[in-house]
Amino acid sequence: MMLLKGGRVIDPSQHIDEKRDILIENGKISTVEKDTPVAETECIDVTNMIVTPGLIDMHTHLREPGHEYKETIRSGTEAAVAGGFTAVACMPNTQPVNDNRSVTEFILKQARCSNLAHVYPVAAISRSSEGKILTEFGDLHDAGAVAFSDDGQPVMNSRMMRSALEYAHSLGLPIISHCEDLFLSQGGHMNEGFSSTQLGIEGIPTIAEDIMVMRDIALAEYTRTSVHIAHVSTTGSVEAIRGAKEKGIKVTAETAPHYFTLTDEALLDFSTNAKVYPPLRSAKDIEAIKEGLKDGTIDAIASDHAPHSSIEKDVEFIFASNGLIGLETSLALSLKLVDEGILTIATLIEKMTVNPARILNIHKGTLEPGSDADITVIDPQRRWTVDINTFRSKSRNSPFDGWKLKGKAVMTIVGGDIKYREL
């Protein structure tokens, strides 16, 4: 038994935002009530803290199997709990690709052995994510995959995407779409705009994303299915998704903190740690992303944690791999939206707990009595400086090194066990 006493409990799934105490029994939430008496229990004083359902990062790359020198499921989930996440979904672009049940089962076994955060494997839509033959959705789901995506690659073939949407929908499973028109993005290394023009680096136009978002919306509408758009980075995508939602089309969307924090000007010094796909865009796109978060067009915030080692990053800019790590900075960067008045703290927590849980159709993101005791305790006032050398992640590819941030997860509880604590 454990009692979290005196904190401000924010649980958007139950519309709770007030001072309450949380009693944990046998790894489950027992009660969430006011003034729970301190009995024979371990009592943790969380006065002045915000207590939320365990944060969920629905878009990460844990790199195992295959690229264990960048990240393992253990190091990735260590980073997750240090960042306040009790659950992560991991994308299938490992080596081998998670396109069959043996890989899914391996990922879940490594997650069980690590025993830190919950890991939800996202399996590939197509074999080897090559866009040619559908994977066995039913068997993969049976093995533990919660969603399907060829993330890292788009499904360029619209007929294949149609089949994927229809089949997944019939099984009640979500499709997560990486939207990129490969013909338009070909050869590009950063957003196409004044920055790429100054640097003489081939650009990736915003329309490479917009067009595929629009295609997927059209496919979802026509097939009467639903689609989730990964890592939204452009004004055009936000507008298309907003319009689709107004029409009642079942589309959901996520963005990542770097898309509302940094512009392509971060690359003017050829910083490979800010090289990411989709690329960092313009100030206008940042405004559109914030507006989309505010009005609910964008449902979730996910880190798109993409570890790379110095082998991939300490090279010439055009040869560097795309991706940056975010598990340990995502929460604090997102809390800036609350300081800026763009989101209320409750709305932010909603986008990092119950919304991703609903999109992935997993029974998480709530403090409802009887549910697993996955809880994040946040100190909203804690000021800290990002230091890549203290990251739990195996990789160091963060463009936020040295940033002074406010707000931090100070305790992460998974299934009633404290997995991270600096309280």
Binding site: Q198, L199, G200, V315, I318
Partner: protein, 308 residues
């Protein structure tokens, strides 16, 4: 007036102030004469070592740097892509540290990746000169172009320079736009719409897609090399179509003023972007550019080595 270049590296035009550019041009001017002597050598950089590290193929720029170094009595060493250990998979970082450990004084680098010279400069304590990085910058080309223009016209300020060609893929265009606008010239860029990088107007230039219109009031027309074969996919129909609308020939140059001067950074595609009679005509500054290139590179080597 600055008398000394207090910089470690020459990576791009934005790093150079107007005064520093004038210092480089004035120094180059004084070195021009050395190349006309019978004995083309002065002892200025005796005992200095210069590595010409050319990851991307080059004839004129590499030769120009080598001659510049030798005329100043420096020891020059050339490393090309095929002879470097990069073909064995060595990273630029490791190559950089290896070269640094041999204690050269200046490393001149050409690389097909934008930003490679900047990366090298961060890694080594020696001076680095950018001899062309991808489609980013070619600062020594822009400086030699400035010297050429200044010597012909007497000044740069107030001139109108039109640059014609594939602006998107041209480091010469980028460096020249930055250098010319910094020195007070007005710049127009001209080419097919698909060869114009996005938001290029924010660099302070006018944009045109019609060569006659673009050169109408120009004092200088700079033609860029067109390499349709280099692009992964066909973004332009053909050399023939390009030449018809953008090749500077006797007909099209009639739109310009009679005293217009013509430049080209080389190597030329005769008949594609420039007609042979224009390239070889009296308005052409093309070989003067090459001559001035040696003087500008001598000036940069001299100034970076601490001369004043």
């Amino acid at each position: 007036m600055v008398m000394k270049l207090s910089k470690k590296d020459i990576l791009g035009i934005p790093d150079l102030s107007r005064d520093e550019i004038n210092l480089i041009l004035d120094t180059a001017e004084s070195f021009l004469e050395i190349s006309t002597r019978d004995i083309k050598k002065v002892p200025t950089l005796r005992g200095k070592t210069i590595i010409n590290f050319f990851v991307e193929a080059s004839t004129r720029t590499r030769t120009s740097f080598e001659i510049a170094g030798k005329r100043l009595s420096a020891d020059t060493i050339n490393i090309s892509a095929s002879t470097s250990s990069m073909v064995k998979g060595e990273t630029l970082g490791d190559t950089a540290k290896t070269l640094e450990a041999m204690n050269p004084d200046i490393i001149v680098i050409r690389h097909n990746a934008a930003g490679a010279p900047h990366m090298l400069a961060r890694l080594v304590r020696q001076s680095v000169i950018n001899a062309g990085d991808g489609a980013h910058e070619h600062p020594t080309q822009a400086l030699l172009d400035l010297l050429t223009i200044k010597n012909e016209k007497g000044h740069i300020d107030g001139l109108h320079v039109t640059i014609v060609g594939d602006i998107t893929h041209s480091r010469v265009a980028r460096s020249n736009i930055l250098a010319l606008t910094r020195m007070g010239a007005r710049v127009t860029v001209c080419g097919p719409a698909m060869m114009m990088p996005r938001d290029i107007d924010k660099m302070g230039v006018s944009v045109s897609h019609h060569i006659e219109e673009a050169i109408e009031n120009a004092d200088i027309v700079m033609m860029l090399r067109i390499q349709l074969e280099r692009q992964n996919e066909s973004i332009f129909p053909s050399d023939r179509e390009y030449a018809r609308y953008f090749c500077l020939d006797r007909e099209k140059i009639k739109a310009a003023r009679p005293d217009v001067l013509v430049m080209h950074p080389g190597p030329m595609n005769r008949g594609v972007e420039i007609a042979p009679d224009i390239a070889d005509g009296i308005q052409s500054l093309i070989l003067k550019q090459v001559t001035n290139g040696v003087a500008v590179r001598m000036a940069l080597l001299y100034l970076l080595a601490g001369g004043e």
